[in-house]
């Protein structure tokens, strides 16, 4: 099968390398660079408006599901106030529940109750930061690491095994558990990296399939004697030793733990790796143009494997944020939907560490607000998925946002994200 190389490459390469043609103005008049124009052309505005647009569309969805609105709509013209009232109730209720669940609960008794939601947001953001870094790293090196879910799961499994099979004193045990998570994720990232380097297998397919393999593997492992909680037949592991868990940051009333600081440290490390180190330069070079990198003497297969290993290790550390803090017992659902949310986080953050941390905070907030949304506004938690995906879609297509809000096209077209 010698004609192996072209198939996915042209479409993928064309898709990633293509950029819209640059628009040039014939005469640029310097005095028109007013503050207004700066703001209106900036990419920050696009991001903000993308969030606004996605909230608008989600509002439509919320309204569709809302009975009062549907009942008031038929007689809209005779009594518009009813319809508007229903809109205000439904949409306002939903978004205030979102705000209360994610950032600031003004109705709570004490100060700690008031900022508890924000702490929960940061806690939920921690695994997203790790996994988002893993995926973003892959994106910048030209690899689509959709396998964060599986890497996270295997990382959490290995860390859990270190946590309940060994019994060691506090700092050492925690350290080894964290290393175990990273190693687990790295192993699971090594497989698709190796396959891509040796056989050219497209990493999207291998990583997605390995997600399923990981899920079933962990499911099977949890049926084994030594992995189960003593005295119970349920597929859940014993609770991890407290010496292997992350201590809480602000006391036991808040869920926030040291893993968050580790995540910030990992973000800094990723920045340093990509922007300041030789290896990171090689990663970026292979991502930009693998043939040119090869001509320059870089060993592309080795770089490929290394990228996936590092990305897998980062995702595995995301597993540590779950198993060593939030949910210290291994079950099949420990990874939740973090793997896929992390993809949207990486996209929203343009694969840069700073962006990823901010995006993870935003999506962590959406996740933390889920239960409040369900209880207070009576909406299924899936509206959060809708908001998330819409935000990412709009961010990924700035021209669409500009078109929707009638913004002028920028004079210098920036590179399209991812």
């Amino acid at each position: 099968m010698s004609d192996e190389t072209p198939p996915p490459a042209p479409s993928v390469a064309a898709a990633t390398a293509a950029e819209p043609p640059v628009k040039k103005e014939l005469r640029e008049r310097p005095e028109t660079r007013t503050v207004f124009r700066e703001i209106v052309e900036s990419s920050w505005l696009v991001i903000v408006l993308a969030v606004v647009a996605s909230l608008l569309i989600s509002s439509v969805l919320i309204l569709m599901a809302n009975t009062e609105f549907r009942e008031a709509l038929p007689y809209f013209f005779s009594r518009p106030s009813d319809t508007f009232g229903a809109i205000g109730d439904a949409v306002g209720g939903a978004y205030s529940a979102l705000w209360q669940g994610a950032f600031f609960n003004a109705g709570a008794g004490s100060f700690s109750g008031k900022i508890a939601p924000f702490m929960q947001t940061l806690t939920q953001a921690t695994p997203l930061i790790f996994a988002g870094l893993g995926i973003g790293l892959g994106f910048r090196a030209g690899m689509f690491n959709i396998g964060a879910q599986g890497q996270l799961l295997i990382g959490a499994t290995l860390g859990a095994m270190v946590g309940f099979l060994w019994h060691l004193p506090f700092p050492l045990h925690l350290l080894l558990a964290v290393i175990g998570c990273a190693v687990g994720g790295a192993m699971w990232g090594f497989i698709p990296g190796f396959l891509k380097a040796k056989t050219g297998a497209h990493e999207v397919i291998t990583t997605i399939m390995l997600n399923y393999v990981a899920l079933n593997l962990v499911g099977w492992l949890l049926t084994l004697e030594f992995m189960q909680r003593p005295g119970s037949d349920n597929p859940q592991s014993p609770v991890l030793d407290s010496s292997a868990q992350f201590p809480k940051l602000f006391g036991s009333q808040f869920a926030l733990h040291w893993g968050f600081l580790l995540a910030l440290g990992a973000a800094w490390f990723t920045w340093w790796l990509m922007e300041r180190s030789t290896l990171g330069f090689q990663f970026r070079a292979v991502g930009a143009n693998a043939s040119a990198a090869k001509t320059a003497g870089m060993r592309v297969p080795v770089v490929t494997i290394l990228v996936m290993v590092v990305a897998g290790a980062l995702s595995g550390l995301g597993g540590s944020a779950q198993i060593l803090a939030t949910q210290p017992s291994l079950t099949i659902g420990i990874a939740g939907s973090i793997g896929f949310d992390a993809i949207t986080v990486a996209l929203l953050g343009s694969s840069r560490p700073v962006g990823i941390v901010l995006a993870a905070t935003l999506f962590g907030g959406l996740k933390a607000a889920g239960p409040t949304l369900q209880v207070q506004a009576g909406l299924p938690i899936d509206i959060v998925l809708v908001i998330q995906s819409l935000i990412v879609l709009f961010i990924a297509a700035p021209p669409l946002v500009r078109f929707l809000f009638r913004l002028p096209n920028p004079r210098f077209v920036k590179e399209v994200a991812a």
């Binding site: 042209p10 569709m64 599901a65 990924a396 991812a418």
Partner: protein
């Protein structure tokens, strides 16, 4: 080999039941010695694998039926092993094959959609989202109108809509196709789950089980094994046959005339040629075959 061949207890027998009451003539049930069958079939599978490796080494083309034979051999070994020594149950080959055809319909349609997209230069990761959107829409419309065929028409339209969004973002706005595909999947899951949890909970009559009737082709469906397997199905399966045949012919003709401008996009670059309409047209293929199990729970994650 290890599991199926040597794991089968020797001396046991597996009974294969092949005939059904409505057939032209009856093939009597036959029994085969389980272990020997499993071993023989496993050896066959190993030989095919060895030949495939040899083909790779010598850059020869591995014939397409090789994979089919391999599948048959492995399946046969599995069945021998599973049915060993159980006198009470016979392995219903016909039933198995019929079920296989029915279950393969969603896979076939999804793959055809991916195939058409690949040929027009777009990577369609959003097939799952299109299937889901079609399943949801089809089920709701069928329940709302009381007619399963209305759902059958509505479903590909929903799939095409999702495809249109994909092509809008991928082609007009130059967003990376894999990214758009993955995000669209999540979006469709979110929308369908949300609507399921709100609208459908409140109006249960929007979620009734409507089934398509099975049409049995008069003469052909009586042939012993092949008949019920291929010719006694709902309209979806027949549509699948027609679609596969049509696409095969169309693609073969496209391949043989390289100079002719294709009605779809050319596969050289995604830059100029992949037009949104062509790609959206191809999405109509993502007919959600959950139509044959129209209960929405099958589409629910």
């Amino acid at each position: 080999m290890l599991v199926f061949g040597l794991g089968t207890p020797s001396g046991e027998q597996t009974t294969f039941a092949v005939a059904r009451a409505s057939d032209f003539f009856r093939i009597p049930m036959f029994t085969l010695p389980s272990r020997a069958t499993a071993v023989v079939l496993s050896i066959v599978a190993l030989l095919i694998t060895a030949y495939a490796a040899y083909c790779v080494q010598t850059f020869r083309k591995f014939p397409w039926y090789g994979a089919v034979l391999y599948g048959v051999a492995v399946l046969g070994a599995l069945l021998s092993w599973a049915g060993a020594g159980r006198d009470a149950t016979n392995i219903q080959i016909t039933g198995l094959l019929t079920g296989a055809v029915v279950l393969s319909v969603p896979l076939v349609f999804g793959s055809l959609s991916g195939l058409v997209c690949e040929r027009s230069g777009v990577i369609n990761i959003a097939i799952e989202g299109q299937l889901l959107a079609g399943a949801f829409t089809g089920a709701v419309i069928a329940s709302a109108t009381g007619n399963a065929y209305a759902g059958l028409i509505a479903a590909p339209i929903a799939g095409a809509l999702v495809g249109a969004v994909l092509s809008l973002f991928a082609v007009k706005y130059w967003v990376n196709q894999i990214v758009v595909g993955v995000v669209l999947n999540v979006l469709v899951i979110g929308i369908t789950n949300f609507l399921f949890g709100t609208l459908l909970r409140e109006n249960p009559k929007l979620n009734q089980s409507m089934r398509l009737d099975t049409w049995s082709i008069p003469v052909l469906s009586k042939i012993p094994v092949v008949g019920p397997m291929l010719f006694n199905h709902t309209i979806l399966v027949y549509l699948m046959y027609i679609t596969v045949a049509t696409l095969a012919i169309m693609l073969a003709r496209l391949a043989s005339t390289p100079r002719r401008p294709t009605p779809w996009a050319s596969r050289s670059t995604a830059l100029a040629s992949a037009t949104p309409s062509s790609v959206a047209r191809s999405r109509v293929l993502a007919v959600p075959t959950s139509r044959s199990q129209p209960v929405l729970h099958s589409a629910r994650r």
